[in-house]
Symmetry: C2
Subunit: 592 residues, 2 copies
């Protein structure tokens, strides 16, 4: 913005503003030089141009601190956002559903710092390491923002040698300098909800419980039947690569290429293997026979019947694992949600066994990159839909970008040993991508066009003063004292921050926040030791429409009784209306 | 550590480790070259020395990923820590007590990114700005970790012009590159719990409600009578400075010096004013008459009676404010917790009105800096108690450092305008320092030497297999299916991850986690359509000591009935034993 203004016009603006301030002694109205940018991607982005804050003396006094808006964008950093209002309520509901499931399976929670020593994260994330945020070197230790919750968990286990078995969950923000697509929940700062089972146990039982947990989480969010758990094993994948003849050093790069099969056709992946990674064409074609296959027990049997594959030790182990896993998943009534998918590879270095990724409608891009390229070639290109170019640019409108996986994880038996040096603690876990789950939930809510708005606060009682005329005191003392009594009793209460409030303004405030009860103080009633309580929103012919007089002395008990009664009634109404917790989240709505 | 080893000895170590691995095909046991450092300050600090991870090829295969411990310290960054176990439970309890209070006063929550644009934070924190953590410049925007939750809140209000009134709370981590003292809760990463009231209202009503909220928070934590709210007004302080003749440009620096009166005697503060800030000695002595005074209404009256002070406009406004504030605090039954303290100045630039800081036993240092200096001079100095020198060094054992204030805040009417340029949104708020509150809670718990340990998980039922002999299958299928049925019913359940578990191992696991019920599957009972349920920890002569046989078909209902009954019984026992939620936190214990 600042380039729009020459230096001399700036001086003029600053001077006018100063003059205006002197004249009005109120905050200067800078309408004349304010430009509000309403960006379609980011409604709240707001730009003002005026004197730069840094021109103020380093120690400005109170008087000096009158508004001097800065000339930079007032916004959150790219790929991050503020959470508030209904969004916050919906997200809290998602967190609590997930936490319930984690606790149901014996999970206990830990909290690790948001940054780790840089060296802790080094060499753990393969090609994605370039996306790690570093802290500036300001002296002392070099640190980076955590990239996931898994590596910090492994570091924690390596430091706490007395913990050899734990089911831990962790709900916290992680950081990736990826190209953002905010409306699709692809953020640079985003929440992960992780559940991991650490310890040496009999094979595949914890792995199966993790898959079962995935089922319970999405079922509790009302997504039953709308998600698929893609599953594979690093042992099987490595076995296939070995049998096909991939050189040892190329196994992870080729694995990364295979992982792109959900976004690219086999031809493009094959090209990447051969042209970029230098794989022999014959080997690539051998791989191509296998990695495009999907199934369940049928696919496992097909692999088991292949003599060459079966002889490979990694392959044999991987197949035995999956055989057992499928059996336990049957016991857990969770096998039907799983798709054994040989194209699933996962980018991270640290997986050693079973890997999985959860997808749903919207995970895949609307248009494949190849289709988009074909379409672009067919018409004169006007703009690039934010796809390439500036890596900071938001890709929300890019049709070649889907929401991606909504949860992912796997077994990592050697990660703790990378820190502890000797004590291995095998682990298996799952990470839920809350921002993506939220985006899908939000889109469903919008599609349902729900008109009902959840309450933003939990306040139960609005304390009001009734009166008028020139002798009306406003009863600030009485309102304050009544609120203090209600708060003492644990009752949520508010009153208008006005010495002499008008009744309509008080009712308006109560209605805006959906407060269920008004407690109205009047001088005449107080003189008789009474106050009026009125339930809000009653029909005009309701017998209690005008409220009831209750004893001032026992007002907390009287209020408490009415709150309890109302809660019971609301609960019955809610049960009758089905399990609608926050609309759109819980079961029934989604099915309908 | 690495400096302890020459390069050639390193090579030797690495070669031995490789040899060992080849011989054992198990993770190499590096006992021979492992050194564990058990630091007294940080029990969990753990150092291993062996081949550096980075020596591995960039794309290591699964086989390559066998343990290669790094040669750096495996630890969290200085001034940060992991939270787990009982600490986590205690902290969660503190959060929920505070959130209850915030909601009782109509608070609604928001969540902002952990980093902000660097420019957003610039010029807001006075002398403390040097403590801001910057992110490295990796291309794109320059960002810093948030220093508090107040500036991000003001930025949020400036971006959301439709929000002119809000009571918002925010519980999140903030970051300061200060010298840490971990055991005193002085961390570089720490939680703040903020409650702020934004909007234009009649004077002092929201300010009084914030003070009332401080009372409710500490009372709900069981600290009644053990804390003091030090209170002052920037308007009064600035008025005093103006009347004493402090030049406008020196007002904030002199204010910062006055703020140190809780840690330094007046003589030292006076010296700083004159020698470091260049204030006239006569002016300093005038200030000294006032800023050492403490009181309540009596002190306010003393100020009001001073003719010279009363004529100053800032002073007059400040005194009228406090008069009204004290009156409303009386209505709220909260005045007795407040100490009007003219030495309180608060370091931050953005306050414009009332300011406050909550202190408790332990807030002040055990030994003043002057005393410590005198003591040091009197004896041959051996070590510096970690006071000066390395700014990264932990100061937990420094007696000149107290825990400091446990909550602080004030009115900031111009901060939103510093972003929005014209629309001012006056604000007043409070920030609770959770890590310090936690440290004091923990110390109290230790002093009480409670032996009872809270449960780490919420699991209600441990599902076990009973049997033996060579035909014993282990009943993995049945245990899995029973767990799946319990989980479907929302019951928290676990089982041992072993195909053929022994009964004692299963009971041990259940006891370790304090699981209240065992559900024991046996082949004979299953054949009769029965399973055994047994409440754990019953006395040896209890009639149900050996458990009861219940119907396999209705087992979820049978389990649910017993859980409900046990919860009711526990609740009655708890009520009888007083309100002990997590021991040491809730009221009664502390009083006793």
């Amino acid at each position: 913005m600042s380039t729009l203004w020459s230096k001399s016009s700036w001086t003029l603006v600053t001077q006018s503003a100063r003059l205006l301030r002197r004249l009005t002694t109120r905050p200067p109205n800078l309408n004349c030089c304010c430009v509000a940018l309403l960006n379609s991607d980011s409604r709240r982005r707001f730009t003002v141009t005026t004197a730069h804050r840094r021109q103020a003396p380093p120690h400005s006094t109170v008087a000096d601190m009158a508004p001097k808006a800065p000339k930079f964008d007032i916004k959150t950093p790219k790929g991050t956002k503020d959470w508030d209002g209904v969004d916050m309520l919906v997200r809290e509901k998602i967190f609590s559903s997930i936490t319930d499931v984690f606790k149901r399976h014996g999970g206990t929670t830990i909290d690790t710092p948001v940054f780790e020593l840089k060296e802790i994260l080094a060499g753990k994330y393969g090609e994605d390491s370039k996306l790690i945020y570093d802290l500036a070197d300001q002296g002392g230790e070099l640190c980076s923002l955590r990239y996931d919750l898994t590596v910090p968990f492994a570091r924690y286990l390596a430091m706490n040698k007395d913990i050899t078995q734990i089911k831990r969950y962790h709900i916290a923000k992680v950081y990736r300098r990826d190209q953002p697509a905010v409306s699709k929940g692809r953020m640079r700062e985003f929440y992960q909800c992780d559940f991991d089972i650490a310890g040496t146990y009999d094979s595949m039982i914890p792995d199966a419980e993790i898959i079962r947990i995935i089922n319970e989480v999405f079922d509790s969010l009302g997504w039953k039947g709308t998600y698929t758990i893609k599953l594979n094993s690093r042992k099987i994948l490595d076995g296939i690569f070995q049998v096909c003849g991939v050189p040892e050093a190329l196994i992870r790069p080729i694995s990364s290429a295979v992982d792109k099969l959900d976004k690219m056709p086999w031809e493009d992946v094959r090209k990447e293997m051969v042209d970029e990674k230098g794989l022999d064409l014959v080997i690539a074609d051998k791989i191509g026979q296998w990695v495009v296959l999907k199934g369940q027990r049928d696919l496992l049997e097909k692999l088991q019947q292949d003599e060459e594959l079966s002889k490979n030790p990694s392959m044999a182990q991987g197949m035995a694992d999956l055989d057992l896993l499928f059996t336990i998943l049957e016991y857990f009534d969770a096998l039907h949600t799983v798709s054994f998918d040989l194209s699933l590879a996962r980018g991270l270095d640290y997986y050693t066994g079973v890997i999985y990724e959860v997808v749903t409608e919207g995970s895949a891009p609307a248009v494949s990159a190849a289709e988009a390229a074909a379409q672009a070639a067919a018409r004169p290109s006007k703009k690039k839909a934010g796809k390439s170019g500036d890596p900071d640019e938001d890709r929300s409108n890019d049709p070649t970008l889907g929401i991606g996986s909504i949860a992912a994880g796997g077994r990592y038996d050697n990660l703790v040993g990378m820190f502890s040096g000797k004590t291995q603690v095998p682990c298996v876990g799952i990470s839920f991508g809350i921002d993506r789950i939220f985006s899908i939930t939000k889109a469903r809510m919008a599609a349902q066009k729900t008109t009902e708005r959840p309450r933003k606060t939990d306040v139960d009682v609005y304390v009001m003063a009734f009166g008028g005329g020139k002798d009306f005191t406003g009863l600030l003392k009485e309102r304050s004292q009544v609120c203090a009594r209600l708060w003492d009793a644990g009752i949520k209460a508010e009153f208008l921050y006005k010495v002499k409030p008008k009744l309509p303004a008080q009712f308006k405030a109560a209605e805006q926040n959906g407060v269920p009860f008004a407690l109205i103080l009047g001088e005449d009633e107080l003189a008789q030791g009474k106050v009026r309580i009125k339930e809000m929103g009653l029909a005009s012919d309701h017998p209690l429409k005008e409220g009831e007089l209750i004893s001032f002395e026992n007002l907390t008990e009287e209020v408490q009784q009415r709150l309890t009664r109302k809660k019971q009634l609301d609960s019955i109404t809610q049960q009758a209306g089905g399990l609608r917790v926050v609309h759109g989240i819980k079961g029934e709505d989604v099915k309908a």
